[in-house]
């Protein structure tokens, strides 16, 4: 099995990140936004893996694990917010309906 060349891995990561960013900007559904964020995080994690493979350093994998945990907590927090909105009596998944922070 040959190693993925770093340049290819970076390209893949950029594509993934752009997909995620576009997802966030385009989709109004909160669930899809969360998924997009996860995609972006995974893109960043991929860069760490690639860099770790290149320099034969385990730190990259450690950072991947950390990002994994971070993604999990972030998803949990996001889902909790959605559930909370439901409980508050605003069963909406539309991100644009919540704009109380408007300046």
């Amino acid at each position: 099995m040959t190693a993925l060349p770093p340049g290819d891995a970076l390209l893949l990561a950029v594509i993934l990140f752009s997909t995620g960013l576009a997802g966030i900007l385009i989709r109004r559904n909160l669930l899809f936004m969360l998924m997009s964020i996860d995609i972006m995080l995974n893109a960043a994690a991929l860069v760490f893996i690639a860099a770790g493979a290149k320099w034969h350093d385990a730190t990259g994998q450690v950072m991947f694990l950390m990002i994994l945990a971070l993604a999990a907590t972030e998803t949990a927090a996001g889902l909790a917010i959605i559930l909370r909105l439901h409980a508050r009596g605003r069963p909406s998944l539309d991100a644009d309906t919540g704009n109380l922070l408007r300046g």
């Binding site: 936004m33 991100a95 919540g98 704009n99």
Partner: protein, 661 residues
Amino acid sequence: MTELLLPLTVLAPLAAAVILFLSAGRLPARQAGPLATAAVGLSAIISTLLAVIVLSAPPSAPIRITLWNWMTLPGFPAEIAFALDPLSLLMILIVTIVGFLIHLYAIRYMQNDPDTARFFGSMTLFVAAMLVLVLSSDLLCLFIGWEGVGLCSWLLIGFWYTDPANTAAARKAFLITRTGDAALLCGLLLLATRTGTLRIDTLLQAVTSGQIPPAPLTAVALLLLTGALAKSAQIPFQSWLPDAMAGPTPTSALIHAATMVTAGIYLIARLHVLFAATPAVMTLMAVIGTLTLLMAACNALVQTDLKRILAWSTVSQLGYMFLALGTGIWQAALFHLMTHAFFKALLFLTAGAIIERVRHERNIFHMGGLLRATPGLAAAFLTGAAALAGLPLITAGFYSKELILSSVWQATFPVGGGLALSGHVLWSLALAGAFLTTLYIFRCFFIVFSGPPQTEISGTTPRLMTIPLACLSLLSLLGGIVEMPDTLAPVHLFTRMLDPSHPLPHTSDPAWLLLAGALTPIAGLALAWTLWGSANPVIREAPVPTPGAHRVLTARTVESRWRPGIVPDALFLRPLRILNRIGRYDLPDRLSDSISRALCRASTLAAQTRTSLIAHLSSRTLRITREGSLLLGRMQNGRVRWYAAWIATGLCATLAAAMLA
């Protein structure tokens, strides 16, 4: 044996007091009195036993018992220790026996009071404190008793606390005596730092061996004298004692006869060696005593309240004792203290019985004609009055007063600078005092007992109250035969017992001196009879300012001149009142408050200035800012996706700038 008995003397009344206070009203009122009386009676029996033991086989040295070591400091031991020598033996006999008779009387007197436990608790504590005072062989231990009697006097004078006047009188007594106590404490501190001990025998040895230089010694003597004067209500501290009449009558009897006021006399007699080394202080003491005895006699002459007359007479008699102490004949002072304890207790208890019979009327001008209704009380009062006046031969007061007068005649009082005050001057003043004494006490007697009845008399005096009166009458008459002038009979039991090594010189008394002392009371009695007693008395009506020859002797005019107690009032109470007025606020507290308020105001001011300044400065830029902020504010639309877009744009821009640069 004596080692065991001595602490028991104190312990019996103390235990009774603790039991009575702890019972807190749960003990039936009928049991409180007998319990207290039994305790004091036990104490009296033990004292008598001790007297028998000591007098039958006089020990070579005073019996001394160290109970425990109170505080030990480097070079300064203070012990709880008792000592029994003739002086303290005499004192415990007086305190316990007179105290017992007063307690016995009080059982019936206080029968109907709802709070007898507190009353008898305080009374027995009073006796216990006084016993500690006279038995202590250490001055610091003595101070426990000294303050203790002050405390108990406060409790008892203010016993009927529902009247604010009573508690005010109680506080006055305590404060004035405590002023003296503070002086006494300072004297003790000075002694302790100079000699390194407060044990009385060691201390007196240090004084006789000249260990203390004269200047500090005089200071010590003055401080101790101040304490004694305050306790014994002498000028300038005299005003608390007449006010102390606010308490129940047995209390007054106890304060005046057995405990409290005699403490000052005892202290000076106990330390007479120390005072003998400071002649100037002795002179001061004698002069103060003389002035007090005259002043108090004059005050007694114009009172209308039966108990106040007796109170002023106590002050006056204490003046005699201070005169004797100042002359250096402390044995005579104690002799007078003893006889005075008998007849003053008798007078007070009789007065209490009389006042109870006439429905708590205390003004003598509202009584009158009591002789027929209460012959027994009249006899008791007459006995007491005769002893107080010192009617010759038949009364105890005659012998004790005579001893003082004859010694004063012979003495000289050094003033300092080689000058000396002749004893003749003080003798004549004291003799005048004796005349006034007879005059005021028989004025009181005649107004109360002769003439037409003025008030309704009710009830009878119970047996339990008359027994103490009878005992005290007997003592007032016969108590003086233990010591007689040489001219009559060479009996010197009393002075021999007190101080076997230094008997008083009696030899050179001229006979006319004795005669003068004997005739003065008789003259006073005659004048009193003419003025108030005879079938057509010169003065009969209550003292209102009336024109005429006897105007001097009416109450208002004289009292307005003498104003008893005006000096201490001006000395103590007025400065306190002024301080009170100043001290209503805690100054540092006010200061910190005003500082914080000022800071607050300053910060408000600063804030206001800043606001207005900025308003001025920015009025021009304000509009631009507002427009800009509105523009920027439009970006803050609260939509997450827009924010994400902005972040992404910003990131791209930063990256682009970094790469291009």
